[in-house]
Symmetry: D3
Subunit: 290 residues, 6 copies
Amino acid sequence: MSRIRPFCGMETPPEDASVVVYGAPFDGTTSFRPGTRHASERMRIESWGLETYSPSLDDDLEHYAIGDAGDLDLPMGDVGAAISQIEQFSHECFQANRLPLMIGGEHSLSLGQFKAAFCRYPELHVIHFDAHTDLRDDLYGQPLSHASVIRRIADIMPPARIHSFGIRSGLREEWIFARENMDFHPFTLDGLEETIRSLAGVPVYLTIDLDVLDPAFFPGTGTPEPGGISYLDLQRAVHAFDGSRIIAADIMELAPPLDPSGASTAAACKILRELAIVLGRSLSASSQAC
Amino acid sequence: MSRIRPFCGMETPPEDASVVVYGAPFDGTTSFRPGTRHASERMRIESWGLETYSPSLDDDLEHYAIGDAGDLDLPMGDVGAAISQIEQFSHECFQANRLPLMIGGEHSLSLGQFKAAFCRYPELHVIHFDAHTDLRDDLYGQPLSHASVIRRIADIMPPARIHSFGIRSGLREEWIFARENMDFHPFTLDGLEETIRSLAGVPVYLTIDLDVLDPAFFPGTGTPEPGGISYLDLQRAVHAFDGSRIIAADIMELAPPLDPSGASTAAACKILRELAIVLGRSLSASSQAC
Amino acid sequence: MSRIRPFCGMETPPEDASVVVYGAPFDGTTSFRPGTRHASERMRIESWGLETYSPSLDDDLEHYAIGDAGDLDLPMGDVGAAISQIEQFSHECFQANRLPLMIGGEHSLSLGQFKAAFCRYPELHVIHFDAHTDLRDDLYGQPLSHASVIRRIADIMPPARIHSFGIRSGLREEWIFARENMDFHPFTLDGLEETIRSLAGVPVYLTIDLDVLDPAFFPGTGTPEPGGISYLDLQRAVHAFDGSRIIAADIMELAPPLDPSGASTAAACKILRELAIVLGRSLSASSQAC
Amino acid sequence: MSRIRPFCGMETPPEDASVVVYGAPFDGTTSFRPGTRHASERMRIESWGLETYSPSLDDDLEHYAIGDAGDLDLPMGDVGAAISQIEQFSHECFQANRLPLMIGGEHSLSLGQFKAAFCRYPELHVIHFDAHTDLRDDLYGQPLSHASVIRRIADIMPPARIHSFGIRSGLREEWIFARENMDFHPFTLDGLEETIRSLAGVPVYLTIDLDVLDPAFFPGTGTPEPGGISYLDLQRAVHAFDGSRIIAADIMELAPPLDPSGASTAAACKILRELAIVLGRSLSASSQAC
Amino acid sequence: MSRIRPFCGMETPPEDASVVVYGAPFDGTTSFRPGTRHASERMRIESWGLETYSPSLDDDLEHYAIGDAGDLDLPMGDVGAAISQIEQFSHECFQANRLPLMIGGEHSLSLGQFKAAFCRYPELHVIHFDAHTDLRDDLYGQPLSHASVIRRIADIMPPARIHSFGIRSGLREEWIFARENMDFHPFTLDGLEETIRSLAGVPVYLTIDLDVLDPAFFPGTGTPEPGGISYLDLQRAVHAFDGSRIIAADIMELAPPLDPSGASTAAACKILRELAIVLGRSLSASSQAC
Amino acid sequence: MSRIRPFCGMETPPEDASVVVYGAPFDGTTSFRPGTRHASERMRIESWGLETYSPSLDDDLEHYAIGDAGDLDLPMGDVGAAISQIEQFSHECFQANRLPLMIGGEHSLSLGQFKAAFCRYPELHVIHFDAHTDLRDDLYGQPLSHASVIRRIADIMPPARIHSFGIRSGLREEWIFARENMDFHPFTLDGLEETIRSLAGVPVYLTIDLDVLDPAFFPGTGTPEPGGISYLDLQRAVHAFDGSRIIAADIMELAPPLDPSGASTAAACKILRELAIVLGRSLSASSQAC
């Protein structure tokens, strides 16, 4: 008799895990086409067919203590409360010495996990993959939307510690802000390896808005933005973090209702697997080092 | 050169209209499958093919001063603010002696228009068509969701003045509340004509959750509930209000992304046309009476 | 090794058939959502699963000489030429003593087959099932569109010989024309049996716009019009022609791209089977009578 | 933190349940459009929004010991092995005094549960709701397909003990067989209440092919057959079994990929809830009687 | 209160614009899968989310006098009349010194705008991006279809002045014609910059059939042709026209019904924005030069 | 009057053909999302728009004796019988000196055609394009599934004669097996030309699982695997076989229900055309050589 299985065959109970994957099913501020609330549920189902073995890394998810904690029960219609709940859950992860890995949901939710991470690691840097700057002061008067999440982070932390890659859209004033205040790498991932090297040993929060991918490779998202990177570009970027000190991460903005072929969900699942192995490896290397 | 046209060919400028149709594109608290935020936009497009002439009524939308005011700019992710904005807009309608006719959007938004109506007409009754009781105290801690809108109205107004029809789903405690406190007509529209007659001259707020229709006739909604009424049942019910004193109305919960064939949008447009003509006639009859 | 099969298992070669089914894949004047050009192709594929045996009639398609002549090659973008080509093909059918049964395509195409029929049988009556009057003088200046086909027929033949059923939409002036000049039975099929009886022995052209069905039973059409008849209503109506003198017929306006579930195509195929058996029976009864 | 929930909120562990719901995700012999393998998975997800309270019965799923045992791991591509596995699982249910309630999957799978039931209750009758006779000797040489399941049952048990309702399609020879050998009620459910009364106290196997519903109410199935019953007809039929002695049941042929609006899945979930309550009540009444 | 907005936030009234965008919603000759008639309507809606700022050009649509004139009312079913109407509208643009920028619609429509342009600028060259040669003499006897538009242009103008890029499909005789008579650059955009340079100061008509893009980047078109260019290739090509003398342009063959994810519509909108800015810049540079 | 046409305009009767294309519509063991059973039917329809002329090869399908034998009638639910039937059909092809070119269906079916080929050419090599190793010993106890087809071939033939390209997924043990026993080229097609050269004159069986393509270029398949090759990579690979000695080939795993835009079907059709021309040329060159 089969049981409903966790993400990508993560069999470790969350309480024994050093990396905790969890779903944040909320898309209440999405301005155009909603659906990211279904991402974690759908990824669990579609990942049944995904092997735990990564041929590119020649490594296996099963080698590491990675668990799936299920989905948070987030209140639709109240983005502030949703962010607080995520912050609280992330705090508990950090206190229990577990690395939180959130599956969105809309990008605004990253703020909750970021706040908990920043509280624990005030010296934190943020590496940000996205098609959009996400630097608006507000969207239709709402300061906590997906279009403002990096601006809210920049309110809390020196923006020079935010390293954005792949951005190809935004208001003129957002681009001016980014160019003047942040470490800004528009259009591609060029410069990523150098950035990672320069942050060796520094705690890093990695936030991936999956729409950094070109819609050819990832149509299943609310605001597809042509001209992005390929799946293999993103996979190579994730691998580049091998050995770096990521202390929290998220993968946001898969919208399954916009993915009839299932290819975007498959891409999200595979990136999650590759990232989880990289995190598992890095933690296990650093703990051996101690 | 064609211009983008208003709902169902409503050519009267909103400022000259005695009935003002407007869209309320918000679905931030939708618990399962969102999409009602696109209803008004989609209905405007699909209603291009709809004649202004109603054969059943042998009457024409063009005979009455009915205007389309466009969509409100509602803040995604803040249902309270959205409801307030609708309340404010409805207040302005009442002050200008215009009957507001809202196109949702999720059912929670009815609260805003209801509050303005209740403020103007404290002796108001509510007639409510729905598949669901909508009487929850809260949903995942959120008191202002689509599942609670009638309960919120019952907090403000004596529940005995709420007349619900077509309900076929809800928690046991909701059904007990409805049976004990409200004028409750579950499963069908039986008793509607009698109710309308008994309310002759009394101001009535009519709120139509389109999921009162059976999913055969209206699949395009977030929580399809089998066992409902037919399109002709609903059309006849709308016609039954001819001559009654509706002072505000709404048509909620069409979700165009769940309506690939367009048939649900067509049903919503046609009900809107029939209702608008009935409202236009009733107003014009009563103003002649004065 | 399977072969691609004709409609509903019609094995008779068209040249030996007394009823010839053929496809007219054209939707060039469709004003809103095209797709009827794919109807015949899709019906052939979907009818693989349809038995030739009709339980309601307790009769079988295989008992009659009914053949499928394939699709006409109609020139997209020239509705006049398409209609002429259909007229020509129908002429040839009549000359070879074959009853033509067209699968549309848009309703305007009926004009071609009607003209050939009228040429052969000037005493012809038309029985017309539809949601729409189709009585416009023109649509955006085009006199030969789906919205005008019955008006064009009424230009040729006394409109009092046109018997329309199920109509529930149209411009006010179309309804006035219909009520004043035609034998007009709006909203339902009431009166059909009486009409058929009164036409005993008279040659009848039967034109079925499948949108006469309610969209619950037939969502797959370009202009779904709520408030129509059920599938069983239509099937019973087709059976009512058993023994009458239909000399040509058509089934129009299935749009497979708007039928993702396949249910509308299944309905069209089954109506086609029932109608073909009724035609086969009637012909065979009348030839035995001679 | 939410957990993935069982069908319709069935919280009883399967080992403590007197009714055991389980999924049989197999559609290997489906001749045209597959997808029923996804029915149980999808119904679990969609039933999150379904209340356990049935207003029609004024009763609640939570009052009875009904559990969800998850899905069987059935071998795709080997229908014989799948049927055997289901037979084995059903045997175990009967031995543990649990009533098995299967969610298909294709209709052929009913054979497995039937065989176990017949072994336990040789005096069994079968009540069969379906659009199709399912009486073929074989389909493309395969004797164990969805098109033959009732014939296979009739090979094992006197066909006079099979009571079929709602049938409206089949080969001529199937209809002859049914009329001559079975208790056959084509087209509608007329005669059901009488049949149920006549079987008072007799063990009954209830098999529901959901395509007995008209495609208007249930488009999401592989072979939609126009002309069927309404959702309320089926719900009333299920309620008619209240107090009867059903000893096993199944609900087959929901194909979620053909149900983009979700309405068919909602209908299947609600029928499952109503049936489960009826079974729970009947068992509990009979055990009190002892 | 929001208003329905023009393409990509083009706020200039058409009568004050130096570049006039307009929609040509016609697909009457489309041979296989129609839908391009909905392109302009859908692009207006989807472009709500598109910023006016182009990061690649570091320039803004708002800097230039670009207006949206809405859609032409084209007669379905009469491609000749549709082309004439476009020719007439383009004439008026040229007379008012406005650059016309058409959004198709099917590619045949380019003929209308081309004729007006050729009348005004007899020394014109055409630059043509496409997957298909579009050089057929006729398609099913129709000389004015999407498959013949370049041939019709070559009937009017010396074919050596037509520069085709990206072509990867066609009949053998079309390829022979192209190779012998035109400036033909099959498969890629190689040679474009050189061509543009060689045409400095020469009036150029730019016609973009969006199916020049690979279906990975642009699935939403009627005849997807694998093996095409990427979105970034096309965007770079558009930028390459900066400073050249385009006097009319069109973007054709987006078919929104074939674009469920919205990614193709997003690509079309972004190309339109980039092209409009390039046109605005070039006009403004040349007028300053005068 | 048009007739239903064979694949890509292959007019040669199968009995006169030297290359015989045929469909194998079976997906009974598909573990996740079925639909490949519809591939050949859909490719025939979609290939109506595909020219027989290949611009890349500057050659034409019509130059060679290539016929379409239609679809085999495979028994759903019995993969062993389906494979045997394909083996039998392939035997007959080889006996009649015809090269069989199968359109799947699921990949397991390749075993049937392989067995017949191996019987005729025991010195055979296999060239295998795929995203997945397909080397499982069994899948849920089923040894004959799509996940095991290469392992079954490796049971029959020395695995060192299997040359796999493009693989990017599988269990760890499958990758170990492949690396130790086969000629294994993971992730890309690198090394293909060299392999082809080394096999000059050697009979080659070419099996293409179309999911070797990246889902950007080929979303329409049951298990999309991100990180694959582009359409042009695959087309160039097919061209690389020009002059080599392919004696049988197959193209598997297109799932049309997962291809709403039609782009994947278009890619499959075009690869089929290119491959058929390459096969036709090679046969004709070798027969001239004799």
